[in-house]
């Protein structure tokens, strides 16, 4: 005799999978979400590059025209003064994010008097200039200078501006002490730190920023996917309960088969969708993204990808099992929203813990929080991606996670079995505990 239980579970998985994948909303979501994400990166990049055709007209007011000239040079060339070639790639990483994308037209004014200040203010009001920097000797001596502008500068621009002024003032001071030209530039050459990732004994040049974005994107994907598919399990259970399909199903299959079929079927839809996104990203979206935010080459090691798949599946199973039980207990989606807190809370805590764990992946806090089953899908994955922890830690974390899933499956299947035939009032916690004992 064939194994009825496996056969039924398979038939239910197939139905869940095909019905969902065939729905128009699946196709729309699969295409729309990457479009929104690409848009979220591309549109700001596009907008900031559009600003660049407007030239900013500034007046630099100094006590001597020689210092004014140094400042002007510095602002015009930006980091060129470091002595490096301004050619595209070299300083892109270091500066492109900070350097304002607009052009400057700079006028030097060595007449630092109150009368001149009034004249400049009038010129700015008339729109003749966009603003002026007041760098009188007094102001420079106390390192407290003012920028007067019609529009207040953005945060990035301000920090860039103050960096350039620092540099210019140092150059000026050095030249006053007899160090000038290339010698001064050599003294001021900044340190550039390059990190090298050691992976299985091999050295790989890592791109920190790119890595950070990639890991962050994947953790967010893990987080949202777990909630999204978990909620769809809950909705499906609720719908079957309210539409009384459940009774028909139970006259053919057991509640365990129904729950297993639902969890696996919806999970397979999730994997399919994420799979499509990864393929899309590899083929098209990623190069475009990489170019537009200029994060350079992002390499995701195979271990990180494998860990992602593993923790997605386990995290999904953990949370959607609870979601299935919630779906069986509630009578409307509003009630579900209140109970979802049980699930969302550990996920939110995991996301809050991301920062500390990323900064110190080997700290006590990171090690132990990444062992806790409700945190480990996010945090252990994060640790593996940032800096692979010792094997025993991964093994222990996985063991605890799998054991918790197994325990929850047994408990939730009991709640499910009784809950799906209860209509009307939502059961109280003591009632649910009674269900757990019954069985």
């Amino acid at each position: 005799m064939r194994n009825t239980s496996l056969m039924n579970t398979w038939i239910i998985i197939k139905r869940e999978y095909l019905e969902r994948v065939r729905q128009r909303s699946f196709l729309v979501l699969t295409l729309l979400l990457p479009a929104i994400m690409v848009g979220a990166f591309l549109i700001p990049a596009k907008l900031s590059s559009m600003k660049s055709d407007k030239t900013q007209r500034l007046v630099v007011v100094t006590s001597t025209s020689q210092f004014g000239e140094i400042v002007r040079q510095q602002l015009m060339t930006g980091t060129k003064a470091d002595g490096e070639k301004p050619a595209a790639d070299n300083n892109k990483d270091a500066d492109s994010a900070d350097k304002p994308s607009r052009n400057y037209a700079i006028e030097v004014d060595a007449n630092a008097t109150e009368a001149e200040r009034t004249a400049l203010r009038n010129r700015a009001t008339a729109g003749d200039i966009d603003g002026y920097l007041w760098l009188s000797d007094d102001a420079v001596a106390v390192r407290k200078v003012n920028y007067y502008g019609r529009e207040s500068s953005g945060f990035m621009e301000k920090s860039w501006l103050s960096d350039q002024l620092d540099h210019a003032i140092l150059l000026q001071e050095l030249s006053q002490r007899g160090v000038a030209g290339a010698q001064a530039e050599a003294l001021l050459k900044p340190v550039k730190l390059e990190t090298v990732r050691l992976e299985a004994g091999r050295e790989t040049k890592s791109d920190d920023k790119g890595m950070f974005y990639a890991i962050f994107a994947m953790v967010m994907l893990l987080y949202t996917a777990v909630i999204f598919y978990g909620v769809s399990v809950m909705r499906a259970v609720l719908e079957e309960k309210n539409s009384r399909v459940m009774e028909v199903m139970l006259s053919s299959a057991t509640s365990t088969e129904l729950m297993a079929g639902k969890l696996i079927g919806v999970g397979a839809v999730g994997l399919t969708q994420i799979g499509i996104w990864i393929v899309m990203a590899a083929v098209y979206a990623f190069p475009a993204l990489a170019a537009s935010v200029s994060v350079g080459e992002i390499r995701i090691p195979p271990l990180t990808l494998a860990a992602f798949a593993l923790f997605f599946v386990l995290g999904y199973l953990l949370f959607s099992t609870v979601y299935a039980a919630i779906g069986a207990v509630i009578t409307s989606e509003q009630e579900g929203q209140q109970l979802q807190f049980i699930i969302i809370l550990p996920l939110i805590i995991s996301v809050f813990m991301m920062g500390p764990v990323m900064r110190a992946p080997d700290s006590q806090v990171a090690v132990w929080t990444s062992m806790v089953p409700f945190f480990s899908p996010v945090l252990m994955y994060l640790r593996i991606a940032v800096q692979p922890p010792p094997a025993w830690q991964i093994a222990l974390s996985l063991f605890l996670l799998v054991a918790t899933i197994a325990g929850l499956l047994i408990l939730c299947a009991r709640i499910y079995r009784i809950g799906i035939l209860m209509y009307g009032k939502r059961p109280t916690l003591p009632e649910i505990i009674k269900w757990l004992k019954y069985a």
């Binding site: 009825t4 056969m7 039924n8 038939i11 239910i12 139905r15 019905e19 729905q23 719908e239 079957e240 539409s243 009384r244 399909v245 459940m246 009774e247 028909v248 199903m249 139970l250 006259s251 053919s252 299959a253 057991t254 035939l421």
Partner: protein, 300 residues
């Protein structure tokens, strides 16, 4: 070998006892009616009978053995409220239900099409269930319950909330199953439907069986204590407490329940004394009357 035997099954939800030591026997090939007012425990009984829920105590046997998993493939179930996936296409839905009952997808598709043709749903097989009318959904639900050609079909309130034409189509399909030798069980609170279709009945109230067995015998047990009278003239004879226990005026005729130990001949004489009779007929009581009397007695 009886199709179903329930032996003192009991089910309570917290303090509320839904089914209380209920026993009944359903013989193969008969149409069995589970009757009772709303909330009497009919649905709870049906659910335990087919293994959706498990009784707190008592034994459910099917085809002579304790109920077990493999019996599910031999039975079909039509729930009280339509239970279909709204967004699924009709044919897919029926094939899915058939597969769960052990049919191959090919067989399930073939039988679904035959049934849809027979019940007038052929044009709708590609439509989503939510696009179907209530009557059509009920027909679809019926197909889902019988697609695997089960020996035993259980239907919870199959004829309630149906328009007359759909009810006739379903009733015919129902009777065809009986002719094919299937055992049929349905629950209803409509006594006249039960009276027309059932071979045996079980009357339940507050979770207990009040009357159970062959419909003819149940009726005979109540004796011919009813008289239908059509008359013109005075109606004093209806108020003679020695002869008449109660009466019901239906307009065209009056149905009289004789007082205990009253002689029908006595009533006939009393009636002819004051009215002109066009009809005087001794009857078996209607199921509705039996029901009302039995429930009244049980509640007293």
């Amino acid at each position: 070998m009886n199709t179903v035997e329930l032996n003192k099954i009991r089910k309570s939800y917290d303090e509320f006892v839904a089914v209380d030591d209920l026993s009944l026997v359903i013989r193969p090939g008969e149409v069995y009616g589970l009757l009772g007012p709303n909330g009497a425990g009919k649905t709870s009984t049906l659910r335990m009978m087919i293994g959706i829920t498990i009784p707190d105590s008592g034994v459910v046997s099917m085809f002579g053995e304790p109920l077990r998993r493999s019996h599910m493939q031999q039975l079909g179930y039509l729930p009280e409220e339509r239970g279909l996936y709204k967004k699924m296409k009709l044919l897919d839905q029926l094939v899915f239900l058939g597969q769960l009952k052990g049919l191959s997808s090919h067989d399930a598709a073939q039988r679904s099409m035959q049934w849809c043709e027979r019940l007038g749903l052929k044009e709708w097989t590609g439509k989503k269930v939510e696009e179907l009318s209530k009557g059509m959904q009920q027909k679809a639900q019926f197909i889902g319950a019988v697609i695997h050609d089960p020996q035993f079909v259980v239907m919870d309130e199959p004829f309630s909330a149906l328009d007359p034409s759909s009810a006739v189509v379903l009733k015919d399909a129902f009777l065809d199953l009986k002719k094919a030798g299937k055992t049929l069980l349905f629950s209803t609170h409509q006594m006249n439907t039960a009276e027309r279709l059932c071979d045996s009945i079980c009357l339940i109230n507050h979770g207990r069986a009040i009357l159970e067995g062959d419909l003819g015998k149940v009726r005979a047990g109540y004796g011919k204590r009813n008289v239908q009278i059509k008359y013109e003239g005075g109606s004093q004879f209806l108020h003679d407490a020695k002869l008449v226990q109660s009466f019901n005026d239906y307009g065209n005729y009056v149905e009289v329940r004789l007082a205990p130990q009253a002689d029908p001949q006595e009533l006939l004489r009393a009636a002819t004394a004051c009215a002109r009779l066009t009809r005087f007929e001794l009857m078996e009581p209607s199921l509705e009357e039996i029901f009302l009397e039995a429930v009244g007695k049980a509640n007293a």
